[in-house]
């Protein structure tokens, strides 16, 4: 598997998360200033220099649970709160959207264009804040440095690594079902009538109808990406919905991953400690009152979703919400304590302490 996959996974999922949050903030009529603050805070946290350094180190992808925990934290980087049900739905939407984009990339290298589409949109969200814009541009340059000269084979390996991460996820998303890009069984539709054949028209008859692409997308810091995958598909009039009713048999394979009694393995906790050590979460101060964002149209719907979420789709993560949940923090501290192996060198224990300290401050 490719050890260069994590930055692409994180940035694209983060991009999708911002699209969804932006849509919900507008749908819920959150005052412009508050909405902008939330977006700015989250983006600032995402592109934090130390965090990016950790992210870009060659490493394996970790489990969905570990990654989900990072996004939980990210979503709570500002004055906005999300209930468990809304956070679950947010993560479902993020992952299915990016899975769709990865699957449908015409060429392996197009994964980079998808990433650039997300970054272009992120830059647009914070266009009035030059400081954050610099951070994002810096990450953009890092991506160009790291990925521009990879071969098609190496990109295909990255793509395969991502697809394995998303394997067996078939959550149905309303916007996909409506646009007929997803079937009712949760599988994506592979269009055969507009595939780009990369060189010339196919001569033999087989039912497909292939055409060559018009022009190449730009891999520079600025430019027309041409590819539409990775652009914002939401708007206020197109609500974000998922369908949970009737778990299909293809979801059975989920249970293996989610049935583990210990929420996070030691290695993943180390990864989280390193990553989150770089996440500087701003504490909400008294003068700026927080608010709760709902991914559903009503509170009742949100409650209902929480109660009826199929067992095999529960993420069973340590839910790091910025509520005064003493019990949860003690639980986390206890788990961290169990992983403090005595023969570890002194340096690593300090990282665990940092994580604990951060949790305690919540």
């Amino acid at each position: 598997m490719s050890a260069r996959t994590l930055p692409l996974l994180f940035l694209n999922l983060g991009g999708e998360m911002l699209y969804i949050l932006d849509q919900r903030l507008r749908a819920q009529s959150i005052p412009g200033e508050k909405a902008r603050k939330v977006m700015n805070d989250i983006i600032t946290t995402m592109f934090n220099k130390k965090f990016m350094e950790e992210l870009f180190k060659p490493q394996e992808l970790y489990s969905k649970k570990a990654l989900r925990t990072v996004y939980d934290r990210l979503a709570h980087a500002s004055i906005m709160r999300l209930n468990q049900a809304s956070m679950d739905k947010l993560y479902d939407l993020m992952t299915m959207a990016f899975k769709y984009q990865v699957l449908l990339c015409p060429r392996p290298k197009d994964i980079l264009l998808v990433t650039f589409n997300h970054l272009d949109a992120i830059k647009d969200f914070i266009r009035d804040s030059p400081n954050i814009l610099n951070q994002v541009d810096e990450t953009f340059r890092q991506l160009i440095d790291m990925y521009s000269c990879l071969s098609a084979g190496e990109f295909q390996l990255i793509r395969q690594t991502l697809l394995i991460f998303f394997q067996d996820m078939h959550i149905r998303v309303s916007i996909f079902l409506k646009d007929k890009v997803q079937n009712s069984n949760g599988r994506f539709v592979l269009p055969i009538s507009d595939h780009y054949l990369l060189f010339k028209r196919v001569e033999f008859t087989n039912g497909g109808n292939y055409i060559s692409p018009q022009r190449e997308g730009s891999f520079d810091l600025y430019g027309d990406r041409v590819l539409k995958l990775g652009t914002n598909m939401y708007s206020v009039s197109r609500p974000v919905e998922t369908h949970m009713s009737g778990a299909s048999k293809s979801l059975a394979s989920h249970t293996k991953e989610n049935a583990a009694p210990n929420p996070l393995a030691k290695e993943e906790l180390n990864f989280l400690a390193r990553l989150m050590g770089g996440l500087e979460i701003k504490k909400p101060n008294g003068s700026e009152p927080g608010f709760r964002l709902n991914l559903f149209t009503t509170d009742e719907e949100e409650e209902h979703a929480a109660l009826t979420r199929p067992e095999e789709l529960s993420y069973k993560v340590i839910n790091i919400q910025a509520t005064q949940d003493q019990q949860q923090n003690e639980e986390l501290a206890r788990i961290m304590g169990e992983f403090e192996v005595t023969d570890q060198p002194r340096q690593s224990t300090s990282k665990g302490d940092d994580l604990l300290a951060m949790m305690d401050e919540l």
Partner: protein, 235 residues
């Protein structure tokens, strides 16, 4: 099906022959080919390791290290013939070898910018499938290009040959399995290819496909996110 590179084995084995301890590189697309009494295995560094398999006993020894490729090996093909081993790599380069007694490189086929994901050898014909959906046919002994087929709109993951008839199967991410017929013109000896059949496995990016019989009357395929193997037969 869970393996993203179809039905090929992956690397990561340690062999201790007593004479030499060999570790074959784990990771991206290693090919593996039995051509008794030898076993060739490709590595992610581009080395091809050839092991001798004794007719009796378990003393497998490393006999050759073929050092021509500079990119990860993706596939290996072999047959009895003047040219009997073909190795392919991530850059799209192919090496053709002769292995009577010791290995010697017959010819090298240059890359053209796309990964050669899959290669087969039949009747002196090299059939190579590429990441851009092309199939190319080469004369094995000389490396000369004989045909270019715009077979698929996406990455070809699988090629298979039915040895008794020369049927060729290609499976790709565009959800199509294509069946072709390889032959040699009786007059000129030129390599020819003919399209026989298409099958679309709806909404499935194929990652593995094989004939189920040596004449090529039936085949099976599987793909990403699919927990089934779909089998097709001629009626």
């Amino acid at each position: 099906i869970f393996c993203m590179v179809g039905l090929r084995p992956w690397g990561g084995e340690v062999w201790d022959s007593g004479e030499a301890e060999v570790q074959s590189g784990a990771g991206s697309g290693t090919g593996c080919q039995w051509h008794l009494p030898r076993l060739s295995t490709g590595t992610s560094s581009g080395l091809v390791l050839v092991f001798d398999i004794p007719s009796k006993g378990t003393n497998i020894t490393l006999s050759e290290v073929l050092q021509e490729h500079r990119d990860s090996i993706t596939d290996i093909a072999s047959e009895d013939g003047a040219a009997d081993l073909v190795t392919a790599d991530d850059s799209g380069a192919l090496c053709v070898w002769r292995s009577k007694d010791e290995f010697s490189l017959l010819t090298k086929i240059s890359a053209f910018g796309w990964t050669c994901s899959s290669v087969k050898l039949w009747n002196g014909v090299i059939a190579a499938g590429y990441g851009n959906g092309q199939i190319r046919l080469y004369e094995a002994t000389s490396g000369a290009l004989r045909a270019t087929v715009s077979a698929h709109a996406r990455w070809i993951y699988a090629l298979d040959v039915a040895p008794l008839t020369g049927k060729l199967l290609s499976g790709a991410e565009d959800s199509y399995v294509q069946i072709w017929k390889l032959s040699r013109s009786p007059d000129t000896g030129d390599i020819e290819i003919e399209h026989c059949y298409s099958e679309c496995v709806t909404d499935t990016q194929l990652c593995g496909a094989r004939f189920c019989d040596p004449e090529g009357n039936s085949f099976a395929a599987t793909g990403y996110d699919l927990s089934e193997i779909v089998r097709y037969g001629q009626v």
